[in-house]
Structures are given as structure tokens and as C-alpha cells.
Amino acid sequence: MFMEEKQNFQTFQDFSKTTLKPVSLADISSIVIECYKKNIPLEICGLKSKKNIGRNFQAEKTLDLSNYSGIIEYKPEELYIKVKAGTPLKEIKLELDKYNQQLAFEPTDFGPLFSGKSNEGTIGGVIACNFAGPRRFKVGSARDHVLGFQGVNGKGEIIKSGGTVVKNVTGYDLSKILSGSFGTLAVLTEISIKVLPKSPSNKTLVIENPHLIKAMDYLGLALSSSSDPSGGVFYPEYFRKYFTFNDLTTDGAITAIRIEGPSDSIDHRINKLCKELQIQNNEIAVLEPEQSNIFWEKTKSLQVFSELKNNLLRIVNPPSETFEVISKLKIFKIKYFVDWGGGLIWVQLDNISLQALKEIKKVIDNASGYITVIKIEENLKASIDVFTTDPIKYKITEKIKKSFDPKRILNPGKMYSGI
């Protein structure tokens, strides 16, 4: 239909190295073109904060985008920032701080889990993996904040979709399909992201010692309330040691609900929420802004798993199923906490077998949810499904993969064998 557009960049001179660190779009494109021609599989990475998530796969070369970094354009009044994919999240947050703005979806910080210290990675990695933090149920996931992107597909062609405006229905929304594709469809090179003002203030209502079933009730009611919470978690007793705050009086399990907004509206909403929840047999406490910020920072960065040695599963299911799911998983001696107001369960398993994983998957399937294996003993990794899917969706996944990356050179096998 169209004349083939020639994109013949021959600018990247040092192709012989195993790790290629391009500094320009032309470099990235020429590297992929070269790999496409020679059938060379590429592993794409930034700051490697999520390198361990996904299947192990063989790649002859690594395309390291950490040198392709920088803020291209930031327009606070237009509520967007356009950045190169290799830009560290830290740098973006510092810039947004100047204008009191934020990435509202609170990207998960996997640093404490994998390396013992914070490493939020690059924005390219955040979008490619699409993991969102506690505010997810209110503001959406990473994918909901991508306004547009530029990337390089598996043939080395530079492609783009979307733009910098909120309302845009011009063509297929490729920003969505690239978000959460773990670099298997294209190398993200530039991303325009929606940014939002930070709330003037926030406080957290903590309900102490609820049983899981009561905690799920509280979270469900809170999320269905006009008091408009922006965080809702449940931590069992064994994780309490990570949350020592002056205002908390007991050592038991806690349910925490975050309320954000202008300071005078927060107290009103917390009072209203307490009435709606009809809290009778539990102590309550309110974390003031400073402590509240620390609490959610710890939640977002999975602090309770900072000493975890072995296995971590991420389970997403309809909130109404969470109590049932956890009850059924207890026989596997799990440790867990619940985020997203009941929609997300993080499950720690100190010992795991293939059989146990299979049974867990069955429980989650029956609850219309899905599992992502975030961390697992290396000897098991090759034999398990890190990401799940069903045969029909796998077939469609194959077709979409082929339409972006016909020779399967971008992160081949990272998500599924054969993709």
C-alpha cells in the first residue's frame, strides 16, 4: 500500500561488543537492523532493576539503554513529560518534584527485593513492565498514563503512536500493547507520560488487629465510599515489625487506608469513612502526613520482602475473591500482604515445588485471577510459567509478536516460550 520507507542508519560503529550502549535513536535503530539482518537475539535493559523478572533466555547481545537518557520536554501546565526511555525514574521524580507533580501510578520499586536497596529503574522499564503501586485502583496502572511513545520494532523501524494530549483516538492505541510487553514487541525509545499534581496532603487511617475477612470488608467498603481513598492494604501480624510508628499501639495485623486531598477535607473524610465502616471492635489510629508517606513508600517498594530469600508471587484477582484465595493458599505456608484495596496479593513462599505451583495456579484460575512469578529459586525457573496465559490468547500473542518482531529478536522467550 505504501512505498517502503528506507531507514538506513549506519551510525553505530561498535557492533562487535556484547553489550551495546547506544546514545542516539539512529544508533538504536541501526543496532536492531543489524540484529534483524543477522538473526541476533537481543536482551533489552536499562538499570536492570527488573532483569530478574521473566523467563531466562539466551541473547547474543545486550542492548543497554542506560546511556539513552534525558528529559526531552516537561510541560507542567500541560500535565505531561516527554523523556528518553533510559532516563532513571529518580531523575524524572526530582524534576517533577520542582513543580509539585508526580507519576500518580506509583511505580513499584523492586530494588529492595532484588538488591536490598532502592532501584526504581528507568522509565522505559517501568512502562515495559507495567507494575503499578497502591494508587492503582484509583488512578490506573502505568499503561493508563502513557500518552504516546516512539520505539524501534524488531525490524529496526522507528515507529510511534499517540502523542502528548489526553484525548487522542487516532489509530490503534499501541501505547497500551507495548506497556507490559516486557520489551518483546519493540525497544521503547521515547515516552510521553501524563503527570498529575501531588495531593496537598494525606493521612492514613489504620485499623488495628482486624481478621482477614473483616479487613477485606473494610477495604471493600472504603473503595466503594465517596471518601475517595487512594490506598488500601492489609498486612498480617508477621509483617508488623516493618511498620513501627509512634501512633500505632498494637503489634497485630493492620488495615491501612490512605486519604489524600486538601488538609481540611482529609479529617472530614476520615471521620466519614470511620462511620461508614462501623468500626466497633478494633482500635484505630491516624498516621499524620509524614508517617503516612513513609508507610506508603514502604508498601510501594515491597519493604516487607526485603529479606526474602526465595519465592515471591504476584496475584491479581477480583477483590471479592481475595479472602477465599488466601484461605485456600494457607496450606502452602504462605506469607502475604494485600494491596490495591483487595485486588492484589503478594505471596511469599519459603519452599515451593512444581506441584504446589500448579495447585496454586488452579486456585487462582478458579478465582478468575492470574499469577506472575516475580522471584523463584533458580533451579525451578526453567520449568515454570512466569507469566500465564491460555491457548487462545497465546495464539493471538504469537501473531501480535510477529507483527512487531517477525524474527523474534527482541527479548525472545522473556514472557513465554516461543514469543
Binding site: M1, I158, V165, G171
Partner: protein, 498 residues
């Protein structure tokens, strides 16, 4: 504008009509197949009424199995299929083709489940947008995206077009409020993407399907998020002496950290027309009139309104009125919603454009529109969803005068191209359809478009599902793109729009 090239008509399909009808009779009930000219005539167009084409046959399936079997049959026999919801689309997305089966989903009109525990509603695709809110409002919930045609447009159509509304800045468009869909692909495969969980596994097919304008699959079930209604909603009606002042006010409100639920601007021409038409009581001396709506708790709304007031005054606001009651707030909006019919009184015809621009470019774009208005000697009025940057200029003309129509088309295309030039988009919420198809090359280069077409071919190798829409058939970019209303007679004149 009616000379738009459509896919080649397969004469063999036309001549084979009787056989096709009798084959489909084996799949769906006979009374659900319309093939006589009188029966198919009502389906010849959607709300982009300037384009008309009767289909080969209209099929009204009742079950998912029927949808799947019809698509499978058409795929095997290389028959084109055009899906249709409520037919309220403004970009010609469900315009039939002479040799197509029009798959009208009207019988999929039931709400299947109200699930308050997971805060979602499961509905068939031809349930109207407003019916979802109506079904849950007694429990204080609502469905956030609210296209102005919400009393008639279908939720399946909303998914296909990724519909917005006036509250998109704060609450997002359809794609941000959708949890799951069931889709039938062209080969008859039935598949679910997403469900009641907040995220779904693997590639985001839900996101890809949303806004794909019926080119990738036929939606047979939709699961949407519902939200608890805010405690308090208030609106302010503000007049400004210049468009620049109004534009600056919008930018400063956002810079202050306030995200209003909605912000609307109308220029003087439209404000005057509205006042004359509906006695809206808008300030007539103002060059720009703005409605700002805030929602939240009483404290929150009061505090935002106070801030907005100070900002408006700093930007020379000439008048400011805050709604005291729900009725008063709705009256502010009622005038705005009557703005377009009001234009119908000013000229025999008007053409409504749908560009998206960065908020800060409003004054610049309006200046350019004024320049073009003089260049083409055609009056224009402007409405602007200032919160999310969606601009709706209305060009007034006389369709009986061929030269006037030609000039209007050129004028419209120039506006949309300018929107792209300043960093915006060709379409904010009406979709590309056939209307803006030839302008796609303004926004994308060939590589971009080829990538999108490759996805289409991956899921529909023979390009049988809604062909001729969204992507240009020829390389040449023609001057197209608008909604045409003649003598106030649009396809559904009573439906509020834009």
C-alpha cells in the same frame, strides 16, 4: 467529500446474495436477517449522514455463538463484515459497504450483572452508556465516561471508539474505565480480554481493542468500572474579556494542583447563539465563557472553588457565578449542550470538527481559526473541552452552494492539520472512521501506518472486518474530515452532542 474511495466492491458477492442470505439463515433466525431494500435502508448510514451506502444484508445476531458462526462463515467465504452498535458514531465508522454483511448488534441490549463487590457492571455491547449509570445510581454509583450522546450511544461502540466526554481529564476515557471485554475475531474465535480483576495477564489486548474502531474484532460483552458519586459537585460560570485570559486561567488552575472534573470554554459567537436560542443567561459581553466543575467532599470543592475564583480574577474575569443548587449547575450545562443546535439557527448548515490540542495552544489555535474564517469567508463558532484539550470548531455554511461546501471542507482540513502542527491530534473523541481517514498521514508516517496495518493483518488476514475505515486506501492524503449537519437535520437531531 462524498468522493472518498472505498474498498473494491466484489461483484461475485453481490450476485451471490441469495445464496449468502440462505446460508446465514442456517446460522441465525430468518427474522433476524434483513435483505429487502426497504428493510436495509435505515442502516445505510450512521451519524455521519453525509455518507450513505446500503449493505448487502443486515444480520441481527442474538447470541455469541451466532456472532462467531456468522464471522467464521464470512471469513471462509471472503465476505466483508461491518459491525454496528447504536449507529451514533460521528466519523462513519459503521458506514456499510455495498458487498458487506452489516452485523447489527442491537439485540445485545441487556445488562448482565451489577457487581458492587468488585465495583463493576457486566453488560452486552448495545446497552446504552447512560443505562449503565441508571442501573447503579440508586446505590450511589455511576459510570464515568459521559459522551454527550450518552442517552443513545452503545457501550460497545464506546469501546470501539474509546469515547470520552467532558470529564476525561479527571476520570479518563473509556480505555481507563474498562476492565474486560469478550470479543469475536474475524475467524470466529471467541476470546476474553481482562475480566473483573484490575489488571490482566500478558499483552494488553484490552487496550489494543479499545479504540480500534471495529477493525480487530466484534465486541460481545463489556465489563466496566463504576465509581461512587462524589459527595458534592459545584460549577462556576466565568466570563473573560479575551480568549487568552480564559486560556491562561485554565493553565493556572491546573498549575495550582487543581484537577477540575470538567472545564468548558465557548467563544463569543457560540455564547451569543446559545443565549439567543435557549436563553441560557450566559454573559454576553465576554469574549470567552467558561464552565468549571469541581467534585469531591464539601471542604474540597469549596477550597478548589475559592482557588479558581482567585485565579479567574487574576486573569481579568468579567463575571463569575457559582452554582448554589444542583438545578442551577445543570442549567449551566444545559446551555452548553444546546450550543450546537443553536448554531443550526445561524446558518443552513454547520460542520463540526474534532481536534485535540495542548491546552496552552488554545489562543493560538483560535487565532488561526479566525484567520482561516476570514480567508474562506465562512463564519465559525468554537466550543472547547478545555480540561482535556478537545476543540470543536463549527463551520457555518450552505451545503446547497457547492463552492461553500468545498471551501468548508478545505477549511476543516486546515484546522485539523493545524491541531497536529501544534502538537495535538486529528481526533479527540469522534474517531477516524472514514471521515479523517485521508488525514492520517498528517499524524503518522508510512512506517507508523504500516505497523498498524500489520497488526490488522495479523488478526484479520483478508482485511474483511470493517475495511476502508481508519487507514487510507490511497497514499495520497485528501482534504477530508468533518461532521456535516444540514438544516439542523442530523441523523438523531434530539441527541445532545459534543
Amino acid at each position: 467529500m462524498t468522493n472518498l474511495q472505498m474498498p473494491k466492491v466484489e461483484k461475485s458477492i453481490i450476485s451471490n446474495k441469495d445464496k449468502i442470505v440462505s446460508d446465514i439463515c442456517k446460522i441465525v433466525k430468518e427474522e433476524n436477517i434483513l435483505s429487502h431494500n426497504d428493510e436495509i435502508k435505515p442502516y445505510e448510514t450512521d451519524a455521519l449522514a453525509a455518507y450513505k451506502q446500503t449493505p448487502l444484508v443486515v444480520v441481527l445476531p442474538e447470541t455469541i455463538e451466532e456472532v462467531s458462526a456468522v464471522l467464521k462463515y464470512c471469513n471462509e467465504n471472503k465476505i466483508k463484515v461491518v459491525p454496528r452498535g447504536a449507529g451514533t458514531g460521528l466519523s462513519g465508522g459503521s458506514l456499510p459497504l455495498a458487498d458487506c454483511v452489516l452485523l447489527a448488534m442491537g439485540k445485545f441490549n441487556k445488562i448482565l450483572e451489577l457487581d458492587y463487590k468488585n465495583r463493576c457492571v457486566v453488560a452486552q455491547p448495545c446497552v446504552t452508556n447512560l443505562a449503565i449509570t441508571n442501573a447503579v445510581q440508586d446505590k450511589g454509583f455511576y459510570y464515568a465516561p459521559d459522551p454527550s450522546s450518552q442517552i443513545a450511544c452503545s457501550i460497545g461502540g464506546n469501546v470501539a471508539e474509546n469515547s470520552g466526554g467532558v470529564h476525561s481529564l479527571k476520570y479518563g476515557t473509556t480505555t481507563n474505565n474498562l476492565l474486560g471485554i469478550q470479543v469475536v475475531l474475524m475467524d470466529g474465535t471467541v476470546v476474553r480480554f481482562g475480566g473483573k480483576a484490575m489488571d490482566s495477564e500478558g499483552y494488553d489486548f484490552l487496550g489494543l481493542m479499545t479504540g480500534s474502531e471495529g477493525l480487530l474484532g466484534v465486541i460481545t460483552e463489556v465489563t466496566v468500572k463504576i465509581l461512587k458519586s462524589s459527595e458534592v459537585v459545584k460549577a462556576a460560570l466565568v466570563g473573560f474579556p479575551t480568549i487568552e485570559d480564559a486560556g491562561n486561567c485554565v493553565a493556572q488552575i491546573i498549575a495550582q494542583g487543581c484537577i477540575p472534573a470538567g472545564m468548558e470554554i465557548m467563544d463569543k459567537a457560540l455564547t451569543k447563539a446559545t443565549n439567543d436560542y435557549s436563553k441560557a443567561g450566559y454573559p454576553t459581553d465576554a469574549e470567552a465563557m467558561m464552565i468549571i466543575e469541581f467534585d469531591g467532599t464539601e471542604h474540597e470543592v469549596e477550597s478548589y472553588i475559592d482557588k479558581a475564583k482567585i485565579i479567574a480574577e487574576k486573569n481579568n474575569s468579567s463575571s463569575l457565578k457559582i452554582s448554589k443548587t444542583k438545578e442551577e449547575r445543570l442549567k449551566f450545562w444545559a446551555g452548553r449542550k444546546a450550543a450546537f443546535p443553536a448554531c443550526g439557527v445561524l446558518a443552513p448548515d454547520y460542520m463540526c470538527m474534532d481536534g485535540s490540542i495542548p491546552r496552552g495552544k488554545l489562543a493560538e489555535v483560535l487565532k488561526e481559526i479566525t484567520r482561516l474564517s476570514k480567508k474562506y469567508d465562512l463564519p465559525v463558532a468554537n466550543a472547547f473541552h478545555a480540561g482535556d484539550g478537545n476543540l470543536h470548531p463549527l463551520i457555518m455554511f450552505d451545503a446547497n452552494n457547492e463552492e461553500s461546501l468545498r471551501k468548508t471542507e478545505e477549511f476543516g482540513a486546515e484546522i485539523l492539520k493545524y491541531c497536529v502542527k501544534v502538537g495535538g491530534a486529528l481526533t479527540g473523541e469522534h474517531g477516524v472512521g472514514i471521515e479523517k481517514r485521508e488525514l492520517m498521514c498528517e499524524a503518522f508516517n508510512n512506517t507508523d501506518i504500516q505497523q498498524q496495518l500489520t497488526i490488522k493483518v495479523a488478526l484479520d488476514p483478508n482485511s474483511l472486518l470493517n475495511p476502508g475505515k481508519v487507514y487510507p486506501i490511497l497514499r495520497k492524503c485528501a482534504e477530508e474530515g468533518r461532521v456535516h449537519v444540514h438544516g439542523g437535520k442530523t441523523k438523531f437531531p434530539d441527541i445532545p452532542r459534543f
